[in-house]
């Protein structure tokens, strides 16, 4: 067996998976998006741009996704970085593992259950009731963009913490000593050494969270109460409720294209920032 054949054989399972689970369905969706809605639901083959012309009807879903996904990513980053820094740099190695496990513990329960908990917390008898107690009346949290944001940050925080933790943990601590030795105050060491060298982790974490958020469905459905909905919710609605597969396909294709464009721009930005060569883990 030549090296070449062997390589192809090794690639075959993943290749087959991608073909069956990704390429074919995507092609089907792509073809559907040029079709027309069948009277009883589903799709009639055709070649029309009518569905794409209808996209503005779903503008709100795109707008919500394209604002809450970046804001959610950024908020998660701002909360996750200090946490990851604390775990990687300041924590006694003895406690590291335990604390890391604590970061994952929420994953042991379904996101569905955890989001229900947030429905209660943000609902009338939860935090608003507490606020009322101290005199802040009429605060409504549930079914607002804020509620969705809270849910998103809560759900995706570990995905942000881990890549940053890894990049900070493998950061050679002697570099920090060297910086201090050369006269840099702790804050300057952080800005000049720690932060730039953790960019790969930041980039990976943001990418992971952002991509997953773009397709998010569950959290807006539960905490947005139909008022704050993402493209994911629009798709569920189009495919399952109104059974308008053609239009749904057009929305899906548009989402994929938007995602590709944003991610490409993002990667360009990151590589210009100097997230250098060897250590960007998933990109």
């Amino acid at each position: 067996m030549t090296q070449r054949t062997r390589n192809w054989l090794l690639l075959a399972p993943a290749g087959a998976w991608f073909l069956v689970m990704l390429i074919i369905p995507l092609s089907v969706v792509f073809i559907f998006s040029f079709g027309e809605r069948a009277p009883a639901g589903g799709v009639v083959p055709a070649f029309t741009f009518e569905q794409y012309a209808n996209l503005p009807a779903r503008w709100t879903a795109f707008k919500n996704t394209m604002t809450l996904a970046p804001i959610g990513t950024l908020s998660a980053l701002l909360i996750a970085y200090p946490l990851a820094y604390f775990l990687a740099v300041k924590t006694n190695p003895k406690w590291k593992t335990i604390l890391l496990v604590l970061v994952i513990v929420p994953f042991w329960t379904s996101i569905l259950i955890r989001s229900y908990a947030w429905i209660f917390l943000l609902g009338g008898r939860g935090i608003p009731a507490l606020l009322e107690y101290i005199g802040l009346e009429g605060v409504r949290l549930i079914n607002t963009p804020f509620a969705v944001l809270v849910g998103i940050i809560y759900g995706y925080l570990p995905l942000m913490v881990f890549p940053i933790y890894v990049s900070l943990d493998k950061l050679d601590k002697r570099l920090l000593e060297a910086s201090s030795d050369l006269g840099a105050k702790p804050w300057r060491t952080f800005v000049q050494i720690t932060l730039p060298l953790s960019i790969p982790g930041i980039a990976t974490g943001c990418m992971l969270v952002f991509i997953l958020l773009m397709g998010e469905y569950l959290i807006p459905a539960l905490l947005g109460g139909g008022k704050v909905f993402f493209v994911g919710n629009a798709l569920v609605d189009l495919f399952l409720q109104s059974r308008n597969w053609a239009f749904g396909s057009a929305v899906a294709v548009t989402l994929v294209v938007v995602m590709l464009i944003t991610v490409t721009i993002y990667m360009r930005l990151i590589s210009r920032l100097g997230a250098s060569r060897e250590d960007v883990s998933i990109m």
Partner: protein
């Protein structure tokens, strides 16, 4: 003759003391890393801490740099007590083991890092000029825009050096700086480091486990063992007058024979070796009759003959080293030991081959009576 005929002490007492450890002890939890260290470092000298790994030499260095604070005792830099002064406030710079260069910066950015931390800020042009000068000093002119990972190990070491000396520190600390270099490069760097030290007049403190490195570069060496300083002295002093078996063994190679002191009335004491052989040797320190000691005989002080007086040995192994030939010989009761035979004597006596019988002798004055420790 003053000082027993050894090279003039390079650090007479009136030299300015630039750094000092006074009764410094460092504990990490239950581990005693350094114990009662006392050493005073003179301006412009090249001092080495020499010892096996875990002997506390790096801890000593890190306390001078400010990365560790002593548990007990006092650290002085340039006359000031600095026990808890943070590293970024100390007039001291360090060349790290594996260099610790900043991977996201170019060579020039690495070297200029220290200057960029100065407040009030230095003008950019002045930084650039100093960086260029430092690059010239370490012979890396033209490399300023290279990435760190594009540089070879030897070049990285020069960058680390340039980065450390650009701040004109009072004390340059070097933590096993050659450990990552191959033998030939190490030799070159040793010579360059010495040149650099003379040229800059900065005080160097080197930490190493490599006795050859310490011997060839230092004005003075601190031999350390299990957190303590065992002996401090010039390389020649340590080689010729070790005060313990440990130092004799660590600085150069030596053969040791255990025995008991039987007569201390003469300048050369008499020692009866464990096999009953009676030898004369000068003591290092005080010994009393009946004390258990060992005598140290350097391989190059032993002479190998075909006939004549001496101890009969069998040649076990022969290694030709050019100027010298090293023989491993076996004595019936003294066991195995090394004899280094100079080329001249090889020519006179003819080379011995494995299995030959030979006679080994030595001048009593070239041996030493030492503690067994």
């Amino acid at each position: 003759m003053k000082n027993g005929g050894y090279a003039e002490d390079p650090n007479p007492a009136d030299d300015k003391t630039i750094a000092e450890l006074r009764g410094v002890t460092k504990r990490f939890g239950d581990v005693l890393a350094a114990s009662d260290l006392n050493i005073s470092i003179s301006e412009g000298e090249f001092l080495s801490f020499l010892g096996p790994s875990g002997c506390g030499k790096t801890t000593a260095l890190r306390m001078l740099a400010g990365f560790e604070a002593p548990t007990e005792g006092e650290v002085f830099l340039d006359g000031a007590l600095v026990n808890s002064l943070e590293p970024h406030h100390r007039p001291v710079n360090m060349v790290f083991q594996q260099y610790a260069l900043f991977p996201h910066m170019t060579v020039a950015q690495n070297i200029g890092y220290g200057l960029r931390q100065r407040r009030p800020r230095l003008p950019k042009a002045q930084i650039a000029e100093k960086v260029e000068k430092a690059l010239d000093v370490v012979r890396l002119g033209g490399f300023e825009d290279r990435k760190i990972w594009e540089m070879s190990g030897g070049q990285q070491q020069r960058v680390a050096l340039a980065r450390a000396i650009i701040n004109e520190p009072k004390l340059l600390l070097l933590d096993e700086p050659m450990a990552a270099l191959d033998r030939k490069l190490r030799k070159e760097m040793q010579i360059e480091l010495q040149d650099l030290q003379r040229q800059l007049g900065i005080t160097f403190v080197l930490v190493t486990h490599d006795q050859e490195e310490a011997l060839s570069m230092s004005d003075r060496i601190c031999i350390m063992r299990e957190g303590r300083i065992v002996q401090t002295g010039s390389p020649q002093e340590l080689y010729d007058r070790p005060t313990s078996r440990y130092v004799a063994d660590f600085v150069g190679t030596s053969n040791f024979f255990n025995g008991t002191v039987t007569d201390t009335s003469q300048p050369l004491y008499t020692v009866v070796l464990d096999n009953g052989l009676q030898v004369q040797a000068p003591p290092v320190g005080k010994f009393s009759d009946g004390q258990e000691v060992c005598i140290s005989v350097r391989p190059e002080q032993m002479k190998l003959h075909r006939n004549g007086e001496g101890q009969s040995v069998h040649i076990q192994n022969r290694i030709f080293l050019g100027e010298h030939t090293e023989y491993l010989v076996r004595h019936e009761t003294l066991g195995d030991f090394l004899v280094l035979s100079p080329r001249q004597s090889e020519m006179n006596e003819g080379p011995f081959s494995v299995g030959d019988m030979a006679q080994v002798s030595w001048e009593p004055g070239t041996t030493l009576i030492l503690d067994r420790k």
